[in-house]
């Protein structure tokens, strides 16, 4: 905090103090945040680039203590972490940005996995297409499912929507058991993989997690850029407004139903994409993987990371996937531990580890400069009178209104401007 003018640093300190009073945020987070905001745009990009490169290298470095070996192959563990990150990213659009509680996100994940299976596995009677084509196909199919689910249910709110989506997740799982083509517990084997061979053996295989991990991280980076574009646009603002106050948003001209459907569709597409990736890496899909606890785990990833913060939820997803892999001994205890962690988190840090409000304008930096520029030349400009006196007023007082009448009746004819 040393490099800038005393004026702005004083302002930052003030804001910091206000933040401390208001939200009890730990100071490490505030310091990190203000430090980050003080960096220039290219510095931020450069830092992000370093982070991305480190993320790519993570399984290669295979750091001791952090590694999940010997019980789990670290590269495959990394792939699972990235996959959960991608899932959390998709669910975050629905839950974090638009504020729609979706407990059946696993349903879209399943639809994606089955789409990839049906069009690539030799066990399927359908026409076979190259695996990479199933990724966009899975997204399209899940969007259709998302919209089909959304049109009747998005008129519901809060808890009601949560229950219906929970039902949707179960319906998909049960359909996978009931419909013969989906082969229930037997499932699909030898699901396709991306092309490419080195020395006769395929680059992408179930035993080699590295290419899968790199592929997924690349997908995450692209998705994050696109979602960032959405966030700082009319769409992101509409989603945030719906989350804040749906009725007010509608009255301010936001077609809420359409934007909720868009959020649902976007989330569904990413869920489908993740499902197809999982199907490709594991090479096997049956009806056992898509249960309600996993769906709740996805939600836990979003809440843990911090709803609304893209990078935060990816980290949340990675943590949720990492902990059981690192501490295999946990086994069935993992849900208990996540439960305790979430309860503690809600008590001490209800906005999640990295919860922050996203920026919703494309030109945020420009406008900040403009406002600072306008504010600094004439610091003596008196603020509006309303500021000083109105802060401590809590509500509308019947008596003040009455007194207004009293004053008026004695007055002359000031009402005569017709």
């Amino acid at each position: 905090m040393s490099a800038h003018s005393p004026l702005s640093s004083a302002g930052a300190k003030q804001a910091e103090a206000a933040g401390k009073l208001g939200h009890k945020r730990p100071s490490w987070y505030l310091r990190l945040k203000s430090w980050w905001n003080d960096r220039s745009r290219w510095q931020q990009w450069l830092l992000l680039l370093v982070v991305v490169i480190l993320a790519y290298l993570l399984p290669v470095i295979n750091p001791p203590l952090i590694t999940t070996e010997p019980s789990n192959d670290f590269a495959i563990s990394c792939f699972n972490m990235a996959l959960y990150g991608l899932v959390a990213l998709g669910l975050n659009v629905v839950v974090g940005q638009a504020g729609l509680l979706d407990l059946g996100y696993i349903g879209f994940f399943a639809v994606g996995a089955y789409t990839a299976s049906l069009w690539t596995s030799p066990d399927s009677p359908l026409v076979h297409i190259p695996y990479l084509w199933t990724l966009p196909l899975a997204m399209i199919v899940t969007v259709v499912f998302g919209i089909a689910l959304g049109i009747p249910t998005l008129r519901l709110r809060g808890d009601y929507l949560a229950i219906v989506t929970l039902g949707f997740g179960e319906i998909i799982r049960l359909l996978a058991t009931i419909i013969p083509v989906l082969k229930g517990n037997t499932g699909f084997q030898n699901i396709g993989r991306p092309p490419g061979e080195i020395d006769g053996s395929p680059i992408f295989s179930a035993s080699n997690g590295l290419p899968w991990y790199w592929f997924t991280v690349t997908v995450i980076v692209i998705v994050m850029i696109l979602l960032g574009n959405l966030e700082r646009s009319r769409v992101g603002r509409a989603w945030f407004a719906i989350r804040e106050d749906e009725d007010a948003a509608e009255i301010m001209g936001v077609p809420t139903f359409r934007f909720k459907l868009a959020a649902f569709g976007t989330g569904a597409a990413l869920g489908g994409l993740s499902g197809a990736l999982l199907a490709g890496q594991v090479g096997f899909v049956n009806n056992q993987k898509f249960d309600v606890p996993t769906s709740i785990l996805f939600l836990a990833a979003v809440i843990l990371g911090g709803q609304g913060n893209k990078l935060g939820v990816v980290i949340g997803g990675a943590i949720v996937a990492y902990v059981p892999l690192r501490f295999t001994a946990l086994g069935g205890w993992k849900f208990l531990i996540f439960g305790v962690v979430l309860v503690l988190l809600m008590i001490f840090r209800s906005q999640g580890l990295f919860g922050k409000k996203p920026k919703l304008l494309t030109y945020t930096a420009r406008i900040r400069r403009k406002v600072k520029h306008e504010a600094s030349p004439e610091p003596g400009d008196p603020p509006h009178e309303a500021t000083a006196s109105a802060t401590d007023r809590s509500g509308i007082d019947e008596n003040t209104d009455r007194s207004g009448i009293d004053e008026n009746t004695d007055d002359g004819d000031e009402g005569g401007r017709a």
């Binding site: 009319r234 001209g253 009178e385 500021t387 209104d401």
Partner: protein, 279 residues
């Protein structure tokens, strides 16, 4: 007040089908029934383009109900609301806003976590067309609209006098600023009729005075205003015409000086409070 600085930019040219002084909004036989209770009983009045129409009445008279029926929040059981000759009944709320009817809320309903400027941006977005594709791929239209948000959004904030706090969260703003931000957000939707629901509630006399000034400035920009207000002084001072409701019925509709003398109004509204005002 720095409101006069940028008059031209704040009110862009709008295609309003009716001429100055002609009927912009026609409310006819509007009734709203909740269960067995008739909250609004065959209320009819016109709003002429360019005027400030006051809607007053004692508590529970049906003022806000009338507002809500006009803006599509409640479904009227009978009657019609016409904007420039087109019926608004049965339209979605966001459609009504886009057709040109914007409102503020009696109990402030800003998007608290958003900054003041972002709140206004949501209002401006009512006139924007960017969708998923345009936003994701950053088309020229997206950039055009985002630039417009910066310029017009800041102008609107300056216009209502709160530009200095443009980047603060709405819920951190002082009460008076929040009220003004509500007006700015409604103006951002570029309305033909601006409906203000008790905009001065909770203000002290000095703040009310300033707000009156602001409302006048808004009208001078070419906006038509429907004002619900409790405070008789504010209403008398600022409006061109007043409609008085009592128990869901219209009991008077005239210029302020005539309303002041109207025995029915005095009986319903003022008489019980200040008996000697009639003398």
């Amino acid at each position: 007040m720095n409101a006069d600085a940028n008059l031209t930019e704040v009110a862009p040219e709008r295609d309003i089908a009716v001429a100055e002084g002609d009927t912009l909004v026609k409310v006819k036989d509007l009734s709203v029934v909740f269960g067995g209770l008739t909250a609004l009983d065959s209320v009819s009045f016109d709003i002429r383009r360019g005027e400030i129409l006051g809607l007053i009445g004692p508590n529970g008279a049906g003022k806000t109900t009338c507002f809500n029926a006009m803006t599509g929040v409640y479904k009227p059981s009978q009657g019609s609301v016409m904007l420039e000759g087109h019926s608004l009944l049965g339209l979605k709320k966001h459609r009504i806003t886009r057709l040109g009817l914007a409102r503020t809320f009696q109990n402030i309903r800003l998007f608290g976590e958003m900054t003041a400027l972002e709140n206004v941006a949501v209002g401006l977005d009512a006139r924007h067309k960017s969708g998923m594709i345009s936003a994701m791929l950053r088309t020229p239209r997206h950039y055009r609209e985002e630039k417009q948000i910066i310029t017009r959004g800041m102008e609107l904030l300056e216009f209502v006098g709160i530009a200095d706090r443009a980047l603060d969260r709405a819920k951190d703003l002082p009460y008076g600023y929040q009220r003004r931000l509500e007006i700015a957000r409604a103006l951002a939707t570029d309305p033909k009729l601006l409906c203000l629901d008790e905009p001065a509630a909770g203000f002290n006399p000095a703040e009310k005075e300033e707000l009156m000034e602001l409302i006048h400035t808004v009208r001078d920009e070419g906006y038509t205003i429907l004002l619900i207000e409790h405070d008789m002084k504010l209403v008398m001072g600022v409006t061109d015409r007043i409609v008085v409701l009592e128990f869901g019925k219209k009991i008077a509709d005239d210029i302020p000086s005539a309303i002041r003398e109207d025995p029915a109004v005095i009986a319903a509204y003022l008489g019980q409070e200040e008996p000697d005002a009639t003398a």
